[in-house]
């Protein structure tokens, strides 16, 4: 092996190393990055479709073609629930690869060296897979569209696809890709025409007249057929109304709700374009260079090259037209502009290379260009995502471990909601929520009970537009009723920042069938009446005599249905009362609380007999109730005004009501009232333990809840001040708590 060849090999292997690192980083980082707004929304629809069956349009407001949910459905089919985003990340990689390949082909088409094409391809791949732009590393519908158009362009520009006998198939493939793109977003039609021109120019090179004519026909009709396949399919299935309502009517609402005239839309588009190119001057430079080269070389270019230039120009203009017509300029949308711009850059580079190579000959350094391009892409595009990706790749051990690691960092309020949900429903069961976020369903591993996953759909609130009842789709409430009849949700989740809007059929449905069970800082949980009965009041079961965990030397005084500990007993972690030696139970009774004294620190501890599981706790500290483990407090609520304010030396508050803030929810509960807060008060409590979680109900409301892992028993520790438990009963766990 010569030195030059050895050097070439080392450089190429270094390129493999660098690109491999990009791919690895992109796969692991985009799994996280892809969990963006629209992708989550689509996943919610897909999850719903899987759960309830039916078409995508019966399971959500899908205002685009069916391709996007179909791709997500495919991802769900080949992965587990936790591994879903890895499949999406893999698709992002494939699309980025196709785009890089297309750019590489464009460079080579115009005379660029193979290594130069590879270099351009690596740069484009990095931009779409790991770049700093918001559209990089995600799978929005527009990312799919550029993948489709990029694939069509790649086929159109590659000579091998148009060899005799292949042209018809190539035309069909391009037609399907373009048709699906147009079907996904109708406003992308102009861009699709531009892309189609590349293939049209390729057909011109077909010598056989029959094949030539057939290819042209196929190229024209296939997109049309692909486009109309969706409405036809839904019409045949008898679901055209749902399809049309989402696909067309809602888009009309979106169009008119901005209140802009056509002139205003154009002016707005001009302003955005100016801002965009101020932020991305390199893009402007590329476009100017492309236009200049097109004009300068037009006469010297072949007919096919002219076609490609024309196609890119139309594509580029079409992309802007799409943005202007959409009237929305979210940063993710600009991917449709980024691809034609990247291809313009690839084309320009190809031209420039051909011009330079014509005068000075080939470059001996060509083998190093891909490596340099990769390094340049990282340096100019920012290596932040690459670094995060490598970090994720380094620490990855399994999908399950990643999910568990994320679960440990969940906010406390989220843990509480999930724990309560697990007491009345199972993963993938329906959840009714009044929300504006797609992750509400995903973070609790539930499916949306209604196709109207956001309140905005039911209130006529249009994204970046006006709100009006006129923008509520026809038959919205009929379909909502159908959804409720089908889903029969056990839980309604309300965000305290977005309270339920009264006067809607949604609110009526909630008021008529749900009871508030938990009032937290960020969420309120309402349980369906039967579930609320089981959780909040439940069957008391049989009276039982608790035992001590210590075989000897316990300070507890234990009797039938009672347990007490003297107030002057020193705190002990080991001298605990055994309330249950298994999960799936309901321990209820009363406890005596005296501020700063008796019952001022009770800890219901979930642990495992063999010590293999971490302790989980539901603690009552005066009037505060906490969920947590031995090292952290997850979440807390307050029973009422703090009893400690009535300690000796303070001015005692009289007539303190130890009840939830919302008195309407306490009708069925005993509300203790004390004249002097320093006097002992008896509270009713129940620790409701399901298969995967437990909650403490005090005075008729859930006050705290905690998820369990592999704990298998329940004990009571008293850290401070003794306690008197009475009326202790052990009953059955709620029916839907996973204990069946």
């Amino acid at each position: 092996m010569t030195v030059a060849r050895g050097w070439r090999r080392v450089v190429l292997l270094a390129t493999v190393f660098l690109v491999g690192a990009m791919v690895l980083a992109a796969f692991f980082h985009n799994e996280f990055r892809a969990q963006n707004w629209d992708p989550m929304q689509t996943r919610v629809y897909v999850d719903r479709t899987i759960h309830f069956g039916g078409t995508f349009y019966e399971n959500g407001l899908v205002n685009k073609g069916p391709l996007e949910p179909m791709v997500y459905r495919l991802a769900a089919a080949v992965t587990s629930w936790d591994g879903f985003w890895y499949a999406i990340s893999a698709i992002v990689l494939v699309i980025s690869g196709v785009l890089g390949w297309a750019a590489s082909a464009a460079t080579r088409f115009f005379g660029g060296h193979r290594m130069l094409g590879l270099a351009v391809g690596i740069g484009v791949f990095f931009h779409f897979a790991l770049g700093k732009a918001d559209y990089a590393g995600v799978l929005y519908s527009r990312n799919m569209i550029i993948g489709l158009y990029g694939g069509a362009f790649l086929i159109g520009i590659s000579a091998r696809w148009w060899l005799p006998g292949r042209a018809r198939w190539a035309s069909a493939a391009v037609g399907v890709l373009l048709g699906l793109g147009i079907q996904t977003l109708f406003v992308g039609t102009v861009a699709a025409i531009g892309v189609g021109l590349v293939s049209l120019s390729a057909i011109e090179s077909v010598d056989d007249d029959d094949e030539y004519r057939a290819s042209r026909r196929i190229l024209f009709w296939t997109p049309v057929l692909a486009f109309v396949s969706a409405p036809l399919y839904y019409a045949i299935r008898g679901r055209f109304e749902e399809f049309w309502s989402s696909y067309w009517t809602y888009n009309v609402y979106q169009n008119v709700a901005t209140g802009r005239s056509l002139a205003n839309q154009l002016v707005y588009g001009r302003d955005v374009a100016l801002r965009y190119y101020r932020a991305w001057p390199l893009s402007l430079l590329i476009v100017v260079a492309f236009v200049a080269l097109t004009l300068a070389l037009w006469r010297s270019m072949s007919r096919r090259e002219r076609f490609v230039h024309l196609a890119l120009t139309i594509w580029f203009v079409g992309a802007w037209a799409e943005l202007v017509a959409g009237q929305r300029y979210s940063s993710h949308y600009f991917s449709i502009l980024a691809l034609p711009t990247a291809l313009m850059a690839a084309t320009t580079i190809g031209h420039l290379y051909r011009l330079v190579a014509a005068t000075r000959g080939e470059f001996r350094s060509a083998a190093a260009w891909p490596l340099l391009a990769g390094l340049l892409a990282i340096a100019s595009g920012g290596g932040g995502h690459l670094t995060l990706g490598l970090e994720a790749a380094s620490s990855y051990s399994s999908v399950h471990a990643t999910a568990e690691a994320r679960a440990t960092t969940q906010p406390g309020a989220q843990r509480t909601v999930r724990a309560v949900l697990d007491l009345v429903s199972r993963p993938d069961d329906p959840l009714l929520a009044w929300t504006e976020y797609p992750w509400t369903y995903l973070q609790y591993h539930r499916v949306a009970a209604t196709r109207w996953i956001w309140k905005s759909f039911m209130l006529g609130q249009i994204y970046l537009g006006r709100s009006s009842p006129d923008y509520v789709l026809p038959r919205t409430w009929q379909w909502f009723a159908n959804d409720m009849a089908e889903a029969h949700p056990a839980v309604f989740l309300e965000e305290t920042a977005l309270p339920l809007t009264e006067g809607t059929p949604f609110a009526t449905y909630v008021h008529n069938g749900f009871e508030e069970a938990y009032a937290g800082a960020t969420n309120n949980i309402y349980l369906r009446d039967d579930e609320a009965e089981d959780i909040l009041r439940g069957g008391a079961g049989d009276e039982f005599t608790p035992t001590a965990r210590l075989s000897a030397g316990t300070n507890w005084d234990l009797g039938a249905g009672s347990a007490s500990l003297a107030a002057d007993t020193p705190p002990s972690f080991t001298d605990a009362v055994a309330l249950s030696d298994s999960l799936c139970t309901r321990i209820s009774g009363t406890y005596l609380a005296e501020p700063g004294n008796a019952g001022s620190f009770l800890s219901f501890r979930f642990d495992s007999a063999d010590g293999s599981a971490p302790n989980m706790r539901l603690n009552v500290v005066d009037t505060q109730v906490f969920s947590g483990d031995d090292g952290a407090i997850f979440d807390s609520t307050d029973l009422g005004p703090p009893l400690t304010s009535a300690l000796p030396g303070d001015d005692p508050t009289t007539d303190t009501v130890l009840a939830p803030d919302d008195a309407s929810t306490t009708e069925a509960t005993v509300v203790p009232v004390v004249d002097d807060a320093s006097e002992p008060t008896t509270h009713q409590f129940a620790v409701v333990v399901g298969k995967d979680s437990a909650a403490i109900v005090i005075d008729g409301m859930i006050r705290a809840a905690v998820r369990l892992t592999n704990q298998d028993r329940l004990s009571l520790e008293v850290r401070n001040g003794g306690v008197e438990l009475g009326d202790l009963h052990r009953g059955a766990a709620p029916p839907n708590s996973g204990c069946g």
Binding site: L13, A21, T387, S394
Partner: protein, 513 residues
């Protein structure tokens, strides 16, 4: 490569299984074989696979801490940086308190912790990839190639060895250079020539200058072997023997240089103090001998029985009542300590024997500050890539000896001699790493254990390769097992001839084959 195996033509082909086999063979002929028979293509594919494996290894080892989390905290790390700070242009650099190889690397990389960690990880991984490549080049049988190269790689990815690449310490570079020097000597032994001897000599010098504990095994085994071979290896070319003599002398000079410079800077005083406190003083007989050699033994020193220089806030290094003792440790104490390694060898060997289970089985987790172990696969079970217990060491030693014997019997005598010497040197290495310092013994054993595992694996592999070759040749000679084996034998012969073509620059030596 030979032609693909011909499809069977017996009556059994009429079965469904037979038809499937025929079809797959046809497919392999049409699709796969044209690709894999091209040695260029195969080489490219293997290179890419190796690069991707390298990438995955580096990402797993370094990715989580990349790029800002490789803080240094070992006192020794600062000591290396201090040595590097003197630069190779200063005479003090060569007599600094660290041998020059690792400080030189630090100097070349601008004393950057992150860059050094990346580079030494890269070098470490490349060394083991090179080892797998050399295994594939030297072994003649595909089974031994595949299995031994995989086992060699499994040594490289063992967390207890790989974790050292994340530290600014000489362990990683030491293991890297040990692998390279072992490979160079093995490659030389498989096809001796001056070029390979020069490579082996140079790599040995690099290895000797990375840690001063590498000097004794080479001094005890390598130098005498080279000098004796230069005199007695009659079948070797004269120029080769002269080159061996030259390298024997040069490496001897390097050994002396490393020893003298390390003695001059007084760094070994720490090891001497540690050993006296924790190993000499608990043994009255040895203490008496040390006293006879001039060690000032008094009540103050005796009260430090069981201590080392780290204990009680460096009490043994700073306490005024031990000043006389420290003066002795700075002067003749280091020489006396060295003599004691030979004088009390049976005693120290017995101690080493007792500690072997702990030392061999250590997973070094206490040094795994960057969590490398949780990101790399667990060590291979069953000790199949090297000993991790006393019984395992015995078994591996016996198997290695058997492998060497087989190699000697099956036309691999030079390899047998070189590997036998390397095997002996690993025990010297092990012994010296143990007795050299009573503090952080497990850390000091890492390099010798990695080297020992590699050498033993090669010894066993060479034996296995020879045995498989012998079995295959005798079966082919008997002609009793049909055309498949003949084709295989032809295939192997082709491979060997390909290797022979690649080794065209080799000076033929009769004893080598």
């Amino acid at each position: 490569m030979g032609e693909p195996t011909a499809p069977p033509t017996s009556g059994r082909v009429t079965t469904t299984l037979g038809r499937a086999r025929t079809a797959s063979t046809r497919l392999a002929r049409r699709v796969l074989v044209p690709r894999v028979t091209s040695s260029e293509r195969r080489s490219q594919v293997m290179s890419i696979v190796a690069v991707l494996a390298l990438l995955v290894f580096m990402v797993r080892v370094l990715g989580e801490g990349w790029p800002k989390h490789f803080a240094i905290f070992f006192p020794d790390s600062f000591s290396f940086l201090n040595a590097a700070r003197q630069t190779p242009f200063s005479p003090g650099f060569y007599a600094a308190e660290r041998p020059i190889a690792f400080p030189t690397l630090l100097f070349l990389l601008g004393r950057s912790t992150v860059v050094t960690v990346v580079v030494q990880t890269l070098l470490y991984a490349l060394a083991y990839l090179l080892a797998a490549l050399v295994v594939c080049r030297i072994f003649s049988q595909r089974e031994s190639r595949l299995i031994v190269s995989l086992l060699v790689l499994s040594i490289g990815i063992e967390p207890r060895f790989a974790l050292w690449t994340t530290h600014i310490l000489s362990e990683s570079l030491g293991m890297t250079l040990a692998v390279i020097s072992v490979l160079c000597w093995w490659r030389f032994s498989a096809a001796p020539c001056r070029g390979r001897l020069h490579l082996a000599g140079a790599s040995t010098i690099a290895w000797l200058t990375v840690r001063d504990s590498n000097v004794p095994p080479w001094l005890a085994v390598g130098v005498p072997a080279l000098l004796l071979a230069s005199l007695w290896w009659r079948s070797a070319d004269h120029s080769l023997r002269r080159a061996m003599r030259l390298w024997g002398v040069v490496t001897l000079v390097v050994c002396v240089g490393v020893t003298l410079t390390q003695s001059a800077n007084g760094r070994n005083r720490y090891a001497t103090i540690n050993n006296v406190g924790s190993r000499v003083l608990p043994e009255p007989r040895i203490t008496q001998w040390f006293e006879d050699q001039g060690m000032p033994v008094d009540q103050a020193l005796l009260s430090r029985t069981g201590s080392n220089s780290f204990n009680n806030n460096w009490d043994m290094l700073t306490s005024p009542d031990l000043q006389t003792f420290r003066d002795w440790a700075d002067a003749s104490g280091q020489r006396v300590m060295l003599e004691s390694y030979a004088r009390f060898a049976p005693h120290w060997v017995a101690e080493l024997y007792d500690d072997l289970p702990l030392l061999l089985g250590s997973d070094q987790t206490s040094y795994d500050a960057f969590g490398v172990a949780k990101r790399l696969p667990d060590a291979v079970t069953g000790q199949i890539n090297g000993p991790t217990s006393r019984a395992g060491l015995l078994v591996w030693t016996l198997l290695s000896s058997a492998g060497i014997a087989l190699a000697a019997l099956r036309r691999r005598r030079v390899q047998a001699v070189v590997l036998g010497l390397a095997l002996v040197s690993t025990f010297v290495d092990l012994y010296m790493a143990y007795v050299g310092d009573s503090v952080e013994v497990q850390r000091h054993m890492v390099g010798p254990l990695a080297r020992m595992a590699l050498i033993m694996l090669i010894c066993v592999g060479v034996g296995a390769d020879a045995a498989i070759e012998w079995l295959r040749t005798s079966r082919a000679a008997r002609g009793s097992d049909g055309p498949d084996d003949a084709a295989d034998a032809a295939h192997d012969a082709d491979d060997e001839s390909a290797d022979a073509d690649a080794d065209a620059d080799v000076v033929p030596v009769g004893a080598a084959t």
